[in-house]
């Protein structure tokens, strides 16, 4: 069962790398925010899986919970902050 969790963690990391494309090359700031949000929610799952691999689930679940809260607050604050900035939609549109 440990190998299953191990390979799903690796697969999850690959998916996070795919999402990272949007976070780095996103045409607007909000696209980057979407990428960051997606990576954050995948990290929450990844933390619990890491806990299962190391047989310390009870420890890692608390970290995952705190990470989920931090991710939510970060996305909320960033979207509140960037909506006041001009030049949000002046970047080159992607088709």
């Amino acid at each position: 069962m440990d190998t299953v969790f191990f390979y799903s963690s690796i697969y999850l990391s690959i998916i996070m790398a795919i999402s990272l494309y949007r976070a780095v090359f996103g045409p607007t700031i909000l696209d980057r925010l979407i990428g960051v949000n997606a990576i954050g929610s995948k990290t929450t799952a990844l933390l619990v899986l890491i806990g299962l691999i190391y047989h310390r689930v009870d420890l890692f679940i608390d970290i995952a919970l705190a990470y989920a809260m931090l991710n939510f607050i970060a996305v909320l604050a960033a979207s509140r902050y960037f909506q006041k900035r001009k030049g949000l939609y002046d970047e080159t549109p992607r088709d």
């Binding site: 909000l30 990428g35 949000n37 995948k42 996305v75 509140r80």
Partner: protein, 113 residues
């Protein structure tokens, strides 16, 4: 129990894959939010259910509490994920970004109004 949790885990990973591919493929930022915010929520639900079931393997107070915490994570994400999605959409609307539409439907809408 192992088989059930493995199947659930693979379903969850499939949903995560859908979310990641959707973020790459969708044409504009409003439609990117559809896979981003919500396929991820479904993936979290699936994988966390799998982990909680696997965790109940040897039954004791500690594992029950760990599984309850995992369910708590899922409930928390089910409340916060729509809120975060709505915050991003709201920022886009206030910045004046128009949604991407197909040309012909746009003309139809113009004719209709």
């Amino acid at each position: 129990m192992n088989i059930v949790s493995t199947i659930l885990l693979i379903c969850g990973l499939l949903f995560f894959t859908g979310g990641a591919v959707g973020i790459i493929r969708m044409p504009d930022f409003y439609s990117r939010l559809h896979p981003a915010g919500k396929l991820d929520t479904m993936g979290i639900l699936m994988t966390m259910t799998a982990v909680a079931l696997y965790n109940l393997h040897d039954f004791s107070i500690g594992t029950v509490l760990s599984s309850l915490k995992i369910i708590l994570i899922v409930a928390f994400l089910f409340i916060t994920s729509p809120t975060a999605t709505h915050a991003i959409v709201d920022a886009g609307v206030r910045a004046g970004l128009g949604p991407w539409t197909k040309e012909e439907t746009k003309e139809e809408n113009d004719l209709a109004t």
